[in-house]
Subunit: 112 residues, 2 copies
Amino acid sequence: MRADILKGHLDLLLLAIVEDGPFHGYAVIEELRRRTDGAIDLPEGTIYPALHRLERAGLLTSSWSEVNGRRRRSYTITSPGKKAAREKRREWSTFALTVQRVVGAPAWPTMA
Amino acid sequence: MRADILKGHLDLLLLAIVEDGPFHGYAVIEELRRRTDGAIDLPEGTIYPALHRLERAGLLTSSWSEVNGRRRRSYTITSPGKKAAREKRREWSTFALTVQRVVGAPAWPTMA
DNA sequence: GTTGTCACCTAGGTTGACTAGGTATAGCGT
DNA sequence: ACGCTATACCTAGTCAACCTAGGTGACAAC
């Protein structure tokens, strides 16, 4: 998948993942790949700065640990982070429905 | 709606509109506003360069006309443009479903 | 004759993801 | 021993795309 279309949605993806338990940066990349069967496979140069930005914004906190001789920075979602995740989910929902209205033809099944 | 989250999807929106008949730039803006009840309301500085880009790419063609003493540049979709629209719709569909898988909780109704 | 709508344009700024480098440890194969 | 791959982190600078902020000009209404 072309990755530039993620623009503006990356924060939601990261918050949604870290919301499901502490993840370190590298593991976030793997988890994104796992949840999407490889469709979303982002480089470290995208993920690390984004996590730093979210931490600076107070939506995540991090702590260092060492596992098998390797340093890890693990991220946990904060209370404002959870709130932001809820808002961004809502935003995404609105956005997706709005695009659908413009381009017609629902992209996803509307029947079970 | 914050407009920066449109990044990468604008071309699809424009192709989808012009696909439904010739539109001039200003009318595209109005049509976007109309189809979304004002949710998507983009400035001319976004639309005009985007239409120029699509024309340079061969996905649209344009012709000048004059209506009520005002110059209009009307855009029509080309055959490659229709193909691109189909591809971008598919891309959008994939993207939307993929994001949904990552963030969980479907954003749109899955039952009628 | 000023204000509002229609209708076009572009140079330059901002933002956000990516490229392309770098550091360092562990494990595997040869 | 040496190289290669995987794990795990980092950042400076680039690039693409959208927006800001200006500009031109015609028409209609007050």
